[in-house]
Symmetry: C2
Subunit: 228 residues, 2 copies
């Protein structure tokens, strides 16, 4: 009964876990990423993540000590970045060539990112002329896994009178993405903060002659460049 470790060909699940750990690590760089948090993020039980973490440790993708925080090895990171590259390239393709909207791309890209073919993704990249950003404004890693992380500030971090430009939106929720489109915001929209209400931190914003009030939660998911 020798336990064969499939070192090279990762399953869809293994890939999903590695990507999730990576996302959690960059989301909150300094804070501990733990087992339950991962379970929560992936919407599975803590027992499931615990199990998978063991396997990924044995395969050399993850490091952690018992009851300790999770981290990825270089190999683990490399897998995660390649998945993100695939995900974002597919999203770009779906939006720019196949008439998908922001809120429609995520689910399909989640499937497409697991297709195993180096040539496929590199040719898709070339076909689209090596796009730098995906439709939500996020950076696309290149074929060598290199990418720049632009420090992101949220709309919620600004103050009355500030003017900013929408550079990216969090792509985690279909409802949120639909909402963003519906009120008329697009990448590069110039947004002026008219008022930040002390009571509930809701924000009155103006863009393209539209005035809207958005919640703190909404503003937390909108990433901007401060202009003024």
């Amino acid at each position: 009964m020798t336990n064969k470790l499939n070192l090279n060909n990762l399953t869809k699940s293994e890939e999903d876990y590695l990507k999730a750990i990576f996302q959690l690590l960059i989301e909150d760089a300094s804070v501990k990423v733990g087992n339950n948090q991962l379970a929560d993020y992936l919407k599975v039980s803590p027992a499931s993540t615990n199990n998978m973490i063991k396997k990924l440790k044995a395969k050399g993708y993850v490091v952690s000590e018992k009851y300790g925080k999770l981290d990825l090895t270089e190999r683990g990171k490399s897998v995660a970045v390649r998945l993100i590259r695939k995900h974002r390239l597919w999203e770009t393709f779906l939006c720019n060539y196949l008439n998908f909207t922001w809120d429609e791309v995520h689910d399909v890209a989640e499937q497409l990112e697991h297709i195993k073919s180096r040539k496929l993704i590199d040719e898709l990249d070339r076909f689209m002329d090596f796009p730098k950003k995906d439709p939500h404004g996020e950076m696309i890693p290149n074929a060598n896994g290199e990418y720049s992380i632009i420090p992101k500030i949220t709309l919620s971090s600004l103050s009355e009178g500030d003017v900013c430009q929408l550079v990216a939106v969090n792509d985690g929720s279909v409802h949120f993405l639909k909402y963003v489109s519906e009120i008329g915001l697009v990448l590069s929209s110039e947004i002026k903060i008219l008022e930040v209400r002390e009571f509930d931190k809701s924000i009155r914003i103006k863009f393209d002659n539209t005035i809207e009030t958005v919640t703190r939660k909404f503003a937390d998911n909108v990433f901007v460049n401060k202009v003024v």
Copy 2:
């Protein structure tokens, strides 16, 4: 312990089985398609196919009697045709837009055909302007699952002096497809049968000022339109 039957969302495996049965049924319309034959085709054990057949029968995709031949219900056929549509559209995309060659497309298309998104495939179809044939010359079913079956004759069925045009090639083997490309045959190539050798049924053919001898096995996998 109520046995929940996942009637709508088929697994990758279930889809593979339905497609395989469909392919075997159209390959040899009149001949019985049996359990062992299916196992052989899918390169799994007869026990595995037997098991899966039971499940697909319970779900209403397959019909067969104990020890009898296999057949698909309308629903089963519909699933298979949609898979073939997806497979062929992806192959077309890979060849025409992403620089894939004949022999490279199959494996990737096998993965891509399982992506679940109606919009994805219909938009891909539109993007390529509704192609009628895939790169190997096979018909692509339309969005309603309609397609025409062109009765195919093989190069091996012709006689000395006949002239034909290459209309399709069997896409089952990478080695075969590489071979076809290497000797210089492409879709629409005009081929003249110079000689059929009685000894081993090998055939001397001429096309584009090239003269080649091909085996019976090779000629069985080349589909043509007889011109003269």
